[in-house]
Amino acid sequence: MSAKETKTSKAKPRKEKDLQDKKRPGAWQVIAMPLLAVLTGLLVGAIVIVVTDARVIAAYRNFFQDPLGAIGLTFQTILVAYGALFSGALGSPERIFLAFERLFTTGETDGLVRAFWPLSESLVAATPYMLAGLAVAIGFKAGLFNIGAEGQFLMGALGSAWIGYTFHLPWYLHLPLALLGGAVAGALWAAVPGYLKATTGAHEVVNTIMMNWISFRLSDWLLNGPMKATGYRPITPVVDSTATLPRFFPDPIRLNLGFIVALAAAALVYWLLFKTTFGFEVRAVGTNPDASKYAGINVPRNIVLVMMLSGALAGLGGATQVLGVDHWVGQGFSAGYGFDSIAIALLGKSHPVGVILSALLWGALRNGATRMQSMAGIPIDIISIIQGLVIVFIAAPVIIRWLYRIRTLETEKVVLTRGWGK
């Protein structure tokens, strides 16, 4: 559109902040759109909850006898469900208040632990999402669609578990080594599709999916064979305590150093992406590989490096899960963290800060769903539906814009992947 250029002036060195403000006129939309998507997802989820609830349906069968009762039950069902979701994710405010009261009157901390347990579990659940989400996001930044985070996550878990139970070292060596082992295992696992993409152009989507399957089967074999613990159960031995990520609070709170590791990884990714020459290359390759080649950037090398970094982050996710939460790896180790991370990267617009926020949301939803299932009898699958809806609204912002009458932002364009082939 040519209108913009009409009133132009020569660039004068102005104060940077001044320019930053002018940079994006609709910056609020970057925040608002995902928030509205989440809100809309919850609203539509409420409808799904209601129409799948046998009691509510029964009430509507007799709508004309008792219309108020039917409507009341509708809202009550939603309220109970989302109330449980909320208190399951963040804790009940009442309990927290009472716990503090007890702390000040009697000095007991026991209530406090139980009151903050839901919140801590949300953070625990968010940790693997953060790291796997960062893995997918950095791939997106380079124009690579890493669907293999699930496999890399699993390989990272196995790698760190192996180091965790095989070696017996002081913690200051053992823990870093185990974390590193997870990252390296994930990186190597992702390097294969990266290398194939760089050298032969084989699409990473296909190859990362294949690598996922290989990792699932490999893990089945390892757990039944070389990595099997004593006893009959097909699980790895438990890692040494010197390799575990320390927990901050008494049981049952499982919040551990892994959460800090994930935040640090996000900061590192932010720094790498936006403050270094490496990030410059990654972003350039991701947005315009032709121009990158023209500018002398080694595109194949970047593809391999980014895939490895992505795999390392996913592997680190698996490592923090093993070393911080589970301490062993069994079948069904990952609850689809690697796959959910694609959604998280999308929701977070592939920005490290966005990824952290959406991972926290995801963790809260998943953790809250436990309580919702228990207290309100809503199947845990409803959360998957809500999460799916959120992604639909993120991927199709038109719907959100139409619903809330938001004007289109011309500059808003997220490059996710360059699609198939060249």
Binding site: Q76, D326, S374
Partner: protein, 366 residues
């Protein structure tokens, strides 16, 4: 936009008004109110196998008004086990039923930390430690835990009858089995099945062969998972190529893939496990010879009843053919095809197993 806000405001007001008149939640902390929670393993509540069976036990207790509340929480990953148990503890649940060996350590930890809550764990028992294992990490406990009841099943007894039946019914002289993962709750079926076949050979001087398991060496066929019906298809096909015409899959829903192959080709019969597949998988009735029943629902129901009656005991409850905890299902559609003499022999064997004159280990020579 303004309209939207006003609609939302009205809705919110309606919610607040109407939600005041809802039913009260059950107070599980009360002494005479019993609440039961079941934590599934990764198969989920609809696994048509032991999670579903255990849940049926809870539901029956609920239907009989033994308990005020029965809930379940599905685990999607291994880190959910501890979370789900803790969630039930948080709600003051009286009895927590956990399903499967993967929950072994988490259950023991929670039970030790919460001695006033009852636990039952399916297919597992304590002590579960081996020499050198660290309690609380490697294994759950090196002693019995007074508030945990391990529910285990002598399924080899029922599988013995199924093996005997299969050996008597085979046309090709070869029967087969395969497992999900090589763990005792699975291989115990296969041991019994093998013993049944061996005993038939002894009694009749026959030479029916078993493909897929050898109790002596511990070698056998395993899919490596409890999920893939495709694996079930593949295993059935390869067993059929070996000449097998009766298959007992011990792999949860994986076996349904085998049943599908049998039905499509008409070349084999299936022996179901855990529940009576005549009811749980009615689409395969035409190829279902019988099922080896493992009545987890009965065991769970018993445990609930004991708790309510104040008779809960920890330790291990072993369910056998004598108390009806394991058995084989009726022949249903194959009732006419099983020779009366064979039926009589099986009935006799059941009695011998009940009174202890015949043991599976005895047949296997161990």
């Amino acid at each position: 936009m303004k309209k939207l806000y006003s609609i939302m405001a009205v809705l919110l007001a309606a919610v607040l008004l109407l939600s005041a008149c809802g039913p009260r939640a059950v107070d599980c902390s009360a002494d005479d109110v019993y609440c039961v929670g079941q934590v599934t393993d990764l198969g989920g509540i609809d696994d048509k196998s032991f999670n579903a069976s255990a849940w049926r036990g809870v539901q029956n207790a609920l239907d009989d008004d033994l308990i005020a509340s029965g809930k379940y929480l599905e685990s999607q990953g291994q880190s959910d086990y501890a979370r789900n148990i803790q969630q039930f503890l948080d709600e003051n649940t009286d009895l927590i039923v956990t399903v499967g060996f993967l929950l072994g350590v988490d259950t023991a930890k929670a039970a030790t930390a919460n001695p006033n809550t009852y636990f039952a764990i399916v297919d597992y028992s304590y002590p579960d430690c081996w020499p050198g294992a660290v309690v609380g990490t490697d294994c759950g406990s090196d002693v019995e835990i007074p508030n945990v009841r391990g529910l285990t099943f002598q399924t080899d007894q029922a599988a013995f009858l199924a093996g005997y039946l299969a050996a008597g019914m085979t046309q090709t002289g070869k029967v087969g089995t395969y497992g999900g993962i090589q763990i005792p709750p699975v291989t115990i079926f296969m041991d019994g099945f093998q013993a049944g076949v061996m005993y038939y050979n002894q009694q009749h001087g026959a030479n029916v062969q078993l493909v897929g398991w050898d109790a002596a060496t511990g070698q056998g066929l395993f899919t490596g998972n409890f999920e893939s019906t495709d694996d079930g298809r593949a295993f059935a096909e390869s067993l059929m190529q070996e000449g097998v015409d009766i298959i007992m899959p011990v792999a949860g829903p994986v076996g349904l893939g085998s049943a599908a192959v049998c039905q499509e080709t008409g070349g084999c019969l299936i022996i179901g496990v855990d529940a009576d597949w005549y009811d749980t998988a009615p689409e395969y009735r035409s190829v279902l010879l019988t099922s080896v029943l493992k009545k987890i629902d009965v065991a769970v129901y018993d445990t609930i009843q004991d708790m309510v009656n104040g008779q809960f005991t920890g330790g291990t409850a072993v369910y056998t053919i004598a108390d009806g905890g394991v058995d084989i299902a009726p022949y249903h559609d194959f009732d006419n095809q099983v020779p009366a003499s064979l039926k009589a022999e099986i009935e006799q064997l059941r009695q011998q197993l009940i009174d202890g004159t015949l043991t599976v280990n005895g047949v296997l020579g161990r």
